[in-house]
Amino acid sequence: MLHRIIALTIKEILSLLKDKKSRFTIVVPPIVQLLVFGYAATYDLNDVPFAVYDEDRSVASRDLAAGFTGSPHFTLTHRITHQAEIADLIDRKAVLLAIHIGPDFSRDLLTGGGAQLQVIVDGRNSNTAMIALNYVREIVNRFNQAWLVKTGGREPPARLNIRAWYNANLESRWYIVPGIAGLLTLVVAMLVTALSVAREREQGTFDQLLVTPLRPVEILVGKALPGFMIGMAEATLIILIAVFWFEVPLRGSLAALYIGLFLFLMSGIGVGLMISSLSVTQQQGLLGAFLFLVPAVILSGFTTPIANMPAIVQKLTLLNPMRYFMVVLRGVFLEKAPWSLMISQYWPMALIGLATLTAAAWLFRHRIN
């Protein structure tokens, strides 16, 4: 039995890697994409272009504007002198936001506060707008604090002392890069499995495989093993890049990470093989791969938190193996999460893996053409 499985595994690996284009597609793009996406996917804003419309032109207004020009988040691109220019600049996306300091700014400021600062921001991408407004609020708060100290005003009776654990500087890259590692691992699992049975069915070689002494379980193992080997190897490379290139801290145990990786690959490969053995043509296999991959990524909590989703969609995410692996990845990388939290992620992935692998093996023989 063992040597039959080994022979089949070798044949599967050869059929994946002997072709130059296929070898290239499996190995190179995931690594390149990690580097590109790792830099691209961040919610932090840098050098956001903004315009200043300062009608007051006082020391105080220049002080306030200096808070913006001095921030790494903003770059002053336009000084304007008319209200109408704001609409034009924002419409054509020349600036993301405009700050407008009215003519009475310094007078109001000196006579007891309530000096108005108007900020107009392009809300076409409302998330970017909200992040930019958060930066604006920080700058204004800092200005207010400094002004109160300077003029001897009383400080508020209580102050907020906010600290962030696990990611003290709130770098979104620390959150996103481990997530991308999970994403690309799933992509590799799909690349290896989703079309493999479909191709053999379309070419008729799968029927030949079925009439050999190989039992469905052996075929299953032979089809799944290359995915495991390639997936493990690439995931290891991706984790190394995350740690040594992107310098994301790895605080938890490698054992916790690799148990999670193993179970995640098992569920990903299970889903891939199930899709593949359901399909009659490779076109259907490809469609199936996308119909799984896209929701799996978007509903995993990778970029948008699961907690923000409506209750019914949250229930649906329980079927998504990626959801659990995201918690494992971030738990191991950043939080040094306790084992009990890990275990409650492990068993759903194991369950999904077993169910889909069983279904795939059953479908090998029972798929009706």
Binding site: I26, G112, I120, R124, N125, A164, N167, L191, V297
Partner: protein
């Protein structure tokens, strides 16, 4: 002679298109791609994806409860942004944070009430789980809001006014009520249409080569240009149908406003679809077989369109090298166009350069397809 060949070419083209339509009807996966996928994915994501955090679970630890702390705690309970749970001590709260039961802790020490009257003021200790930096920032923004409201209420009850030197007035244009769905749905349409475009055509040329039917087509009088057009036109029609369905859903299911014109939307969608289909065709021609075409399609379509199109992540904030790379992602231009046409209107200075880029990309993809396909004849 030339005059005669034109109607002949048209007749041949019609024949090729009819053949492709028969194939589409026989394997309904292409119809599923064009119509089922946009409906299913848009419903799932339109409802599922949101960046608006509400009812964030937080723990509140009060060491010595009294009137002052009760007042502040009530402020946290009143807002819809938080779902506070009182906890007896910090160790219970830290436990809840570790196990993801709460996202933040508010900690009021025993001397809170007394220190309110000191010159430096009393500290309100806040610990946030910072793993998800974006959400953590949102939470700290909400915290500040609660804090400022509480300060204002307190000042009013003491008969004074809260002194804020500069009062920030913010106005968010195009999406005043900050519905993240308004920008996510147009962005999702661009991502979904990228998939549809590539999925429809990635397999079709490779399939003909793989099955040997391409040789049969090549010995007919049909030219390579006609063969490619014969592939392109049916899938273009299918794709535009899928696009129309997506737009209808955006408008009537998700209530996204359409402030630009329908013809602008249609025209730019057609351009984008040509680029997306062209990319699929090129994949199909380069790959030679369906297996590799499928692999390439998985790798180059979804994730780049999702992460490099500016749909979620601001392109201007990416490193310059990555910004250059985003220029070869067609979805990037379509996201910019869709967000403007839906939310702002027909703004020529945004739409024209992006539409021109789409024309260029479509020309490159289709031109390369034509060239690569012709080479294989020799």
């Amino acid at each position: 002679m030339k005059q005669q060949s034109a109607p002949g070419g048209f007749r041949r083209l019609r024949g090729l298109i009819r053949k492709e339509f028969y194939q589409i009807v026989r394997d309904p996966s292409a119809i599923a791609i064009a119509f089922l996928m946009p409906v299913g994915l848009l419903i799932l994501f339109g409802y599922g994806v949101s960046l608006d955090a509400k009812h964030v679970p937080i723990a509140i630890v009060v060491e010595t409860p009294d009137a002052a702390t009760a007042d502040l705690t009530r402020s946290f309970e009143r807002t819809e942004y938080f779902e506070p749970v009182r906890m007896a001590d910090m160790s219970a709260a830290v436990d809840a944070l570790t196990y993801h039961r709460v996202d933040a802790i508010v900690h009021l020490r025993g001397n809170f009430a007394r220190r309110l009257h000191e010159e430096k003021g009393a500290p309100i200790g806040v610990v946030i789980n910072g793993v998800d930096a974006n959400t953590a920032r949102l939470i700290s923004g909400y915290m500040e809001g609660v804090w400022l409201n509480w300060l204002g209420d307190r000042a009013r009850s003491e008969g004074t006014q809260l002194l804020t030197p500069v009062d920030l007035r913010q106005r968010i244009w195009f999406n005043a009520e900050v519905r993240s769905r308004n920008f996510l749905v147009p962005g999702l349409i661009a991502v979904i249409m990228t998939l549809i475009g590539a999925l429809l055509t990635a397999m079709v040329m490779a399939r003909e080569w793989e099955r040997g039917t391409m040789e049969a087509l090549l010995v007919t009088p049909a030219t390579m240009g006609e063969i490619i057009l014969g592939k392109l036109i049916p899938y273009f029609i299918l794709g535009m149908g899928g696009m129309a369905l997506s737009v209808a859903m955006a408008l009537w299911v998700f209530d996204v406003p359409l402030r630009g014109s329908l013809w602008m939307l249609t025209g730019t969608s057609a351009l984008f679809l040509l680029a997306a289909l062209g990319m699929g065709l090129l994949i199909s021609i380069v790959a030679k077989n369906q297996f590799i075409a499928g692999q390439i399609a998985i790798v180059v379509t979804f994730l780049p369109a999702f992460l490099l199109s500016g749909f979620l992540f601001d392109i201007g904030s990416m490193p310059v090298v990555v910004q250059y790379i985003t220029h070869i992602v067609a979805a990037r231009y379509f996201v910019a166009i869709l967000q403007s046409v839906f939310l702002a209107g027909d703004i020529g200075s945004v739409i024209l350069p992006n539409a021109a880029a789409l024309v260029l990309l479509a020309a490159v993809f289709l031109g390369l397809s034509r060239k690569k396909a012709r080479k294989r004849l020799e």
